[in-house]
């Protein structure tokens, strides 16, 4: 059952590493920078301080904190026309007895009364949005204590348009996600193509620990979803799978494969496993779809899939199926370009992940080749003509890392300086 990868599995290790490297460099472009994060943090802290300072018993000791992708470090900058989404919880410790309408009313009134926030504040199904147009928006969900059970993180009752209050535990989910990120997969570690070109010696492995594989894989999946949904002829675009659902499925799939003890040839194989297994973790019982928050069973991220009105649920569920099909298809397409040129590979990746970040990854790789060439550190594997790092005579007696189809013993010929010419 389920969709399986075929051609993508059959790629050579060097090809898998290269695809993953391009994805990595592309997603790096879509990461929030430290200064983006700082700006966002100071923005929501400002709102939090303001609300906590308001003289109202419900707002006393209130606390604002991020949930979702900003919290889990899985943010992906949106396609150019959209604003960046910052999801926040406004926790009200003294609101246990208050009704939803009381809470909403108090928060709304105080936000509207503020000189800056007032004109920017709009109502949402779950709380309020302060919209810094063209930049980002802060989505603030008021919440009160969940008194029934002690759970990891912070179990909450959040205001909800339909249900008055709904159970939610974003902090528990985020902690669980962090824990999963810390479980590192066993990957046969080799340097990436550009690392091998840039490293002075084979031993010089740069520290890559800042971004964990699960963070990156989640970003890849979310970015694919964004580009897929923005496709003009995609009828399911408006029903695209929500981030928390994809993140949770990715996390569960990741844990399953990593905990199996499998040793991965490359991070790309891990990505394929995760994408392949994601649908397996959608539960279906009594005609109901469930993707539970592992830190709070009552919170069902697929809840909307069960809505009957206007077939909304069916469309959402179908949209997931269509997205997943597209993801499998796109990676297969990339694999099928393995003999069709780097240009074709980049084009295929651009279709799936967007032109801008992929061309910037392409630039980065070319730059690395040209820099090594300028320094006289480029070589070719004699048997295949594959570009690789020339073994630096004085730096190391070890053979250079061949990135290609070659056997490891194939001699590497350093490339002498040259300038291209021609009569046309």
């Amino acid at each position: 059952m389920g969709l399986r990868f075929h051609d993508a599995r059959k790629l050579e290790t060097s090809q898998k590493r290269l695809v993953m490297e391009v994805l990595d460099l592309a997603l790096e472009q879509l990461d929030l920078s430290a200064s983006d994060l700082e700006k966002i943090e100071s923005a929501y802290r400002g709102v939090g301080n303001y609300l906590a300072s308001c003289e109202h018993p419900l707002l006393r000791d209130s606390l604002i904190y991020p949930q979702g992708s900003v919290r889990m470090r899985t943010s992906v900058k949106p396609l150019s026309k959209e604003e960046f989404d910052v999801d926040l919880i406004l926790f009200l410790p003294h609101a246990s007895g208050a009704s939803r309408d009381d809470i909403n009313d108090v928060v709304w009134r105080h936000l509207k009364a503020h000189k800056i926030y007032g004109p920017l504040t709009e109502k949402l199904a779950r709380g309020f949005r302060i919209n810094y147009k063209g930049n980002y928006h802060l989505d603030i969900t008021p919440a009160k204590e969940y008194p029934f059970e002690d759970l990891p993180g912070q179990p909450l009752l959040v205001v909800d348009k339909r249900f008055e209050f709904k159970e939610s535990n974003p902090e528990g989910a985020a902690q669980g996600f962090d824990d999963a990120c810390r479980i590192m997969p066993k990957i046969l570690k080799r340097m990436t193509f550009t690392e091998s070109l840039e490293a002075n010696t084979v031993q010089d492995l740069p520290d890559q620990s800042d971004k964990k594989p699960l963070n990156r894989i989640t970003q890849v999946i979310k970015r694919h979803r964004d580009v897929w949904a923005s496709n003009e002829d995609n009828h399911f675009g408006d029903f695209k799978p929500i981030s928390v659902l994809l993140t949770t499925l990715a996390r569960l799939a990741y844990l399953r494969v990593v905990n199996s003890g499998k040793v991965f040839e490359s991070e790309f194989d891990l990505l394929l496993d995760v994408v392949e297994l994601m649908p397996m973790f959608i539960e279906q019982a009594n005609d109901e779809y469930r993707v539970e928050n592992p830190s709070m069973r009552q919170e069902n991220y697929a809840e909307k899939w069960n809505r009957k009105e206007k077939m909304e649920g069916a469309k959402l569920q179908q949209a997931f199926v269509q997205w997943h099909k597209a993801a499998v298809f796109d990676f297969e397409m990339i694999a099928q370009s393995s003999e069709k040129g780097m240009d074709t590979m980049f084009k295929t990746l651009s279709t799936a992940f967007g032109e801008r970040p992929v061309s910037s990854a392409r630039d980065r790789i070319l730059e690395s080749i040209s820099n090594s060439r300028d320094k006289g550190r480029l070589g070719v594997v004699a048997t295949t003509g594959a570009i690789t790092a020339a073994a630096s005579a004085k730096a190391s007696s070890k053979p250079a890392i061949a990135n290609s189809t070659s056997t490891k013993t194939a001699p590497v010929i350093p490339i002498k300086k040259n300038r291209f010419y021609g009569d046309q």
């Binding site: 050579e12 003999e339 040129g341 392409r362 570009i387 990135n403 490339i415 010419y421 021609g422």
Partner: protein, 162 residues
């Protein structure tokens, strides 16, 4: 004095013969080589795949003693891949091999470049073939972005080169 120093250098670094070029090509373990034209020409034919997703390019290198080596990509058709655009850093192909002739190094150009980057003391295995791989890297990049980012020297129609 100058003449004798040049002569000494010549003795220490003699031009490689066709059979020496042939031997180096054969021992590289890549492609197929043969000698033709009454032992005056060596021809190498092989496949280059410079990067992990590159095409497999069939390449012919032909070198006749006393002339510049030529390097032709015979398959796939670079012209077709270029889709009507003129490919940078190529020569008008006057060889008997059908395909695109690459220009891989700066030759002697009267009044411009005194020393050719290739000379008969250099082996084809260590120059022309690696340069062809590198050229193909920049070619695929050119296909992707429309810009030649491999550097080089622009041809001037006035140039007299050999």
């Amino acid at each position: 004095m100058a003449t004798s120093r040049a002569k000494l250098f010549e003795l220490a670094h003699p031009d490689l013969s066709i059979s020496e070029q042939y031997l180096a090509l054969v021992t590289s373990g890549q492609g197929e080589s043969h000698i033709t034209d009454h032992d005056r020409t060596v021809v190498w034919q092989g496949v280059l795949k410079p990067l992990a997703f590159s095409r497999r390019y069939s390449v012919t290198v032909s070198y006749t003693k006393g002339r510049s080596p030529s390097c032709i990509v015979t398959n796939p058709s670079l012209e077709e891949l270029a889709n009507g655009k003129s490919i940078p850093h190529t020569y008008t192909n006057k060889t008997k091999y059908k395909g695109t002739q690459l220009c891989l190094y700066l030759p002697y150009i009267a009044g411009k470049n005194k020393v050719s980057e290739w000379n008969p003391k250099l082996s084809l295995v260590e120059t022309i073939i690696p340069w062809a791989s590198l050229w193909l890297v920049y070619f695929e990049d050119w296909l992707a972005c429309g810009e030649w980012r491999g550097g080089g020297v622009e041809h001037d129609p006035e140039d007299s080169y050999r």
